[in-house]
Symmetry: C2
Subunit: 444 residues, 2 copies
């Protein structure tokens, strides 16, 4: 047994291609549908809104590997490869025979895995002559990542940030602004969609659905402007596979292979990133690893949602996507894991779930903060509220090993750190944090 | 020329010994004096307050290398070795022929270099049977680091945090509490010193001097309790030399040797850490590197202070220390670089300064935030306000290279990230940040 704590790769080990799980899936994800005529969509149908390269990737079900452009790899070098860590402190605290490993994506300069796809999307936009990009952000992790990527490639970026977060989470707004992005509280007077909402309800504090509508409208009405998205879509999960590809090499350095792989789950980007490269060995029949998505009990799309066609946004502007969904009108509770407050799962994950290739667990907010505090005290890193769902699921698995008296190798993705979420920890420490139950949307 | 961006070491490359620059100094630092009788102090005189190992290190002017205990190296593995980064983005932005490198200490789980000494001090206390430790903290970087180290070694920790920061910087307080430390706003009713101050001035918002008095009093009146300090003293600078020792190996990997080494300067801990290992080659006559300490224009102890004996705290409870000082009653301006708001320099640095082995520059607050924003946009990392002083000094050196048309190799220490200081960036971006001039203390 290797006695190292961290397993480190060199820059030359940064993957040269992303892994496209769709190529290996027996049942391909069902196609997106045009809501107007319910016809399957093609890559070209996305060109007006997204860059062409990502639109093509979205529909690519044949190429197992998609080359990572050299400029993207070059920028990955700012923080990649990220460490794989043996969580010996946590193992000791739990007194478990399990071997626990985590991939530490929190070392990115914006503190999360979101940069992996932000860089790729900004790069392709630049390559195609785009000058302006726009997106929405909730708590601000995705917006911060895209701000840095946009600055690097010389693109102007406008971020529509949900108004309540804009005011309650000023630090993430300042991070975006420090990187040079324009941040607009949504709903805003800068779009028709925003104006209409403000006119009807001057005090409306915004939602991700509204912010998407505003960003989409800006992209449609601005010359040379594209819209980019931080999760849910297939190409975003594709870009995130650098996480699992690096982890695969590092587990080999550690002389182990995971029996269980765990990621927290919002729209699916970090879960896809850590899981898909290992899942390819299940799909080929070589391995039988379990994959667990950890989602909030108050937003349980995989454990309690329905698999059906639904819109990606609240207003119903997007294509119809085949997804495990709580309904696009579902209003998630105000948990601190802002990145997991989304009603649906991407179409690839939804198909894998449908086919029994992965499973899901749902976790209450208080349990995630309890797990987070145990992790902070034993491993030193204060995790993001989102990542804490993966930690709670990992602890449950490790305690099961202890009960059963068996050793299993568990790998989870630490998708981000929680240093910008300390107000949530403060609330937890003061005993003021509560759980939220799942309340189904009336139209599901 | 190597084209890598980062130079990464493995865990086995973590230094096995700290470098003790005092052994190589021709003029040793003058001794601390007992204020009661002005007699030179010995290690034993510190035993009642500090642990024995650190007290001995404080006076060790003979051993060039001091072994790092295995348990300390083991905990260093949580985040060490840290990357050395070639700042190609910043070089490009400045269009300079200079080669700029930085040692990235911001990747520590508490976001700064402070953990390097916190672990060592907590370890020695544990070894000597101490059960409780106490310290003071201003903005909270040191307190956060010590909280993690104390938890790791099973010590109870009480941190006296300057009251104004306790309320204005709740995030750092929550970080300490998440790691399990008790955090007390200073002045407090828990000590005689605190009670006296509150009685005289119920609205007093605290100072580092008062917080030191409270922590020292707690240590003196509590069985099995020691006091620990995060900067200024020789043993703290000693522990920080892991920074420069790693950087030396990494510069070798890059095929270069620094012409200039730069660190920001508060009490001297991070500056000592990055500089001393390189300075040993100056002291031996092999090299002629320049060493630059970058301090705030409003707190310019090295550029405008006097070299004399002075107290380490405002109240005058500590031994007399030979230091470049602005006077122990000096009240620093409210700049955001809280870690640099200290009146004096440690005795080793002061002697090196006196002997012309290093130099110093002072920098205005607005210039540090301008430099920080340039760095964030070109290298991706938002730096701590303290570290931004080193960045501003580096940019000035790099622009000098451009003017003179010569290439020099510049190395600076990125002592921490600024993700918990975004309110300062917000103020800067809104144009509300100001410079502060130096106002000498009346008694200097």
């Amino acid at each position: 047994m290797d006695s190292s704590k961290k397993f480190l790769l060199q820059e030359k080990d940064i993957p040269t291609a992303w892994y496209n799980v769709m190529a290996d899936m027996k049942n391909k994800p069902r196609p997106m549908l045009n809501p107007a005529n319910k016809q399957p969509m093609k890559a070209e149908d996305l060109y007006p809104l997204f860059n062409k390269a990502c639109s093509d990737q979205e529909f690519n079900t044949t190429d197992q590997w998609i080359e990572i452009p050299e400029e993207v790899r070059e920028m990955y070098k700012i923080w990649r490869p990220t460490p794989l860590v043996r969580a010996r402190g946590l193992e000791k605290l739990l007194d478990t025979p399990a071997h626990i490993y985590f991939k530490n994506e929190s070392v990115s300069p914006v503190g999360s895995h979101k940069l992996n796809s932000a860089i790729a999307q900004a790069y392709y936009c630049k390559q195609e002559g785009v000058t302006n990009i726009t997106t929405e952000t909730g708590a601000g992790q995705w917006g911060a990542a895209l701000s840095l990527a946009a600055k690097h490639f010389g693109l102007a970026l406008a971020v529509y940030m949900v108004k309540v977060s804009y005011h309650q989470k000023p630090y993430r707004r300042s991070i975006m602004q420090t990187y040079g992005a324009e941040v607009i509280a949504s709903p805003s007077m800068s779009t028709r969609a925003g104006k209409d909402i403000i006119t009807n309800n001057p005090n409306y504090q915004g939602s991700l659905g509204t912010a998407i509508s505003e960003a989409v409208e800006l992209a449609r009405t601005t010359p040379n402007c594209k819209y980019v998205l931080g999760s849910v879509l297939n190409h975003v999960g594709l870009h995130q596979t650098v996480i699992g590809l690096e982890a695969e090499k590092q587990m080999e350095m550690a002389g182990e292979y995971p029996d269980v792989v765990i990621g927290c789950f919002g729209g699916g980007s970090n879960f896809s990133g850590i899981s898909f490269p290992f899942m390819r060995h299940n799909l080929s029949g070589e391995r039988n690893t379990r994959f667990i998505a950890a989602e909030p009990a108050s937003c349980p799309k995989l454990t309690r949602g329905k698999f059906q066609y639904d819109f990606g946004d609240e207003a119903g502007y997007t294509p119809l996507i085949p997804m495990y969904t709580l309904g696009h009108k579902f209003a998630p509770a105000h948990i601190h894991a802002g990145g997991l407050r989304y009603h649906g799962a991407g179409s690839v994950v939804s198909q894998l779930m449908q086919d029994g290739l992965m499973s899901a667990v749902d976790i209450q907010q208080l349990d995630t903060f309890k797990a987070a505090t145990m992790f902070a005290q034993s491993e030193g890193i204060i995790p993001a509220p989102e990542s804490s769902h993966a930690i709670a699921a990992t602890i449950a698995e490790a305690l099961k090993c202890k009960e059963e008296g068996v050793s299993r190798t568990i790998l989870f993705n630490l998708s981000g750190h929680g240093l910008i979420d300390m107000s949530a920890y403060d609330q937890y420490l003061r005993g003021e944090l509560t759980n939220f139950e799942y309340t189904p949307a009336p139209n599901l």
